[in-house]
Symmetry: C2
Subunit: 425 residues, 2 copies
């Protein structure tokens, strides 16, 4: 039997101490971690160089090697992020609601740590510090499961996180490094100990985790985002939004995958297509799109595909209603946009489209925690429970209800007895 | 094959129309439902009388019969509730956050319906109208699975709900009645269609549902609530809180099940015990409690038991820390209270106890949506994800992010290009 269950239980217990410590204690630990990164930068970079070397010998591709590699500059960025977190207003104990129930009986709802998080990530060892820092700030414990290709880098970074806690009189067990796929399968069964799983990786990884646990999973398996060009869309704006949505970063989950085109826009569609093709985009259209553009024909599968590449499907509709129904039938509820000169039609689209992010006259690429101004991003959720869309530190919080009384019992209230005042405070 | 999947899919589709309809349309449907209840009261009461008759013949016990029975007065109460909901400020489209990302690029986060709810309830046919009304107000579709003992009552009430929708130009498919246990098992597998399950019934029911679905479940399987008497607790207040917590409604989930007693309070404990015993409470204590009170001895199982009855376990501790650790070890994270004359110790308890509701000098019985002033209560959640503690209509909502732009692309921003302003609106 592995030691995972006692370690998860130890993390859960340590979390209570971490979460109820003074805000300054957590700030101190974040600053200590930044110092430790500086003092140990040589050891970190050496361990990382070994990981990169081994990965290169194993024939791992360059983009992955880039994500795996650390540098003095990357460490500086991480230290800057920790300094920002250390200065940030503490997210815990924020009052969301306050009601006087009666004289001397005051209720408040305050933010609290979620508990124990299981983070599953690939290649980037930076994630240990970014997520560890966020967890520390929000009073959560974390089990960090990184990829085997980064095992040396992750180990030293997890050790520094634990040391920063210990040296700030906080329980080091709140952070635990975990290795290996078998460990994930075992941990996903601990629904009594783990409160949230955050997989950061491919859609296939997210989907397989969602299907093998009863613990809540924050993330998105797919980003099939639509841009709908209404018949009154300004052609230059339509081209700009299509090009940005598809070409700015085609591998991103918020890249546009399907262009919906109102039949009334068809005369202007060639200009949009040229702009896209000029950026190397392959178009796949339905019958009307093919006849207007002479592009490749799309198959049914295209409407449900996240290309993650310079490919865009084009579907022609006869009304806004049809466009919205198409989005609900084929989208992933991630991000969908309309381009229209009409405020009224834009507002109707914003009201009717049931996706995490819905845009009027803006590129789907804006769906991102940094661009939304949320600070550090935990992930993007297409789930509807707990957190939706780009998720910042708020997604790592729950609430508690605190009641301060002076000896009241519930039997004191009711018909012919005392009344509640329910006065907002 | 049953028709449940197409019906759930129809409900999901109808929800989009219901949720994006104007607030007034949903208010109108609520008022129409109140009228229909009045116009059809005779038919409702007749159907209900048949249910009650059949239940009586089947030997069902009186408390259950009481919950099953409807009356003109109960129907009036339901109509009053619907009128209140109809007048209420619409919970949808409420702005939670608004940020200017740049000139002409404005982001807001607004409340939205959760989607499709599966409600599983027992006996009380009132629940059809209460929950149906709440769902309608919040733009959610519902699958209503009632107990077989109320099938005739439930059927006519579900029909009226659907009729109220139809007659208000809203899609009747947003409400669907479901019968039988097999249906529940089938529905719990539709995690692609159903967004939230709300079981209203015994802890065993909640637990069995939690363990057989990947859909989020809102509820609580157990309410093991503690009252901790510190050594400086005022003896009269201690007795009052213990008696109210245990005796006001022993079967409630927020009733006190374990009394934690600081060793320094032992000299005053006899008074508290007498007050409890005077109300018919049986005490079961650990060694020190037995020697102080001469009560029955408790076994290890007592510390993890929700009696739901006039039984209270008593455990003696030597410090606040020990009391808090005991609560985390044996509680269910529902509601825990401290009785102490010290503001400082009260605040430390409020900060450190990780339960949905934490009280200082108030009875655990206050943990309730009505008492908290939340209006209609959806349930009480001991989960940490999405909603925690007493849950009002907010627990039936999620959010969407709406971005209103003027043609911006993400590639317009970055070093040497435009900067985000991130100005709060």
């Amino acid at each position: 039997m592995s030691d995972l269950r006692p370690r998860a239980a130890a993390a859960r217990a340590a979390q209570r101490q971490l979460g109820s410590a003074a805000p300054e204690a957590r700030s101190l630990a974040l600053r200590r971690l930044a110092e430790l990164l500086k003092q140990n930068s040589q050891a970190i970079l050496e361990a990382n160089a070994q990981d990169v070397q081994a990965a290169r010998e194993a024939g791992i591709e360059q983009p992955l090697l880039d994500r795996l590699g650390l540098s003095a500059a990357k460490l500086d960025t991480l230290r800057g992020g920790l300094a920002t977190l250390a200065e940030q207003v503490d997210p815990l104990g924020r009052r969301l609601r306050a009601t006087e129930l009666d004289d001397g009986l005051a209720l408040e709802q305050v933010t609290s740590p979620l508990g124990l998080l299981l983070i599953i990530f690939e290649s980037r060892p930076d994630a240990v510090i970014q997520i560890g820092g966020l967890a520390l700030r929000s009073g959560n414990a974390v089990l960090l499961k990184g990829g085997s290709e980064a095992s040396r880098s992750n180990r030293i970074l997890v050790d520094l996180l634990r040391r920063a806690l210990r040296e700030s009189d906080l329980p080091e067990d709140a952070v635990q490094g975990v290795q290996g796929r078998a460990a994930v399968a075992e941990l996903l069964a601990f629904d009594d100990l783990i409160d949230l799983v955050i997989p950061r990786g491919s859609g296939a990884l997210v989907k397989s985790i969602q299907q093998s646990t009863r613990i809540a999973v924050l993330g998105h398996a797919e980003g099939i985002c639509h841009l709908y060009l209404a018949d009154d869309a300004e052609p230059a704006m339509a081209a700009r939004l299509a090009v940005d949505g598809k070409c700015d970063y085609p591998a991103a989950c918020n890249a546009t995958e399907t262009l919906l085109v109102h039949a009334g826009f068809l005369p202007a569609l060639a200009g949009v297509a040229e702009a896209l093709q000029g950026r190397g985009v392959t178009l796949r259209g339905d019958e009307r799109a093919v006849s207007a553009l002479g592009c490749e024909p799309a198959t049914e599968a295209d409407w449900n595909t996240e290309y993650g590449d310079l490919v865009l499907s084009v579907h022609v509709v006869d009304s806004d209603r049809e466009a919205i129904d198409f989005i609900h039938a084929h989208g992933s509820g991630h991000t969908d946009a309309i381009c229209t000169a009409s405020t009224e039609r834009g507002e109707a689209f914003l009201r009717q489209v049931d996706s995490a992010s819905v845009f009027h006259n803006a590129s789907t690429r804006f769906a991102d925690g940094y661009r939304y101004g949320l600070g550090a991003e935990v992930g993007i959720s297409t789930g509807r429970i707990h957190a939706r869309g780009p998720v910042g530190v708020d997604g790592l919080l729950t609430t508690r209800w605190l009641l301060r009384g002076s000896g009241q019992g519930a039997a004191d209230y009711g018909p012919g007895k005392r009344d509640f005042t329910w006065r907002g405070l």
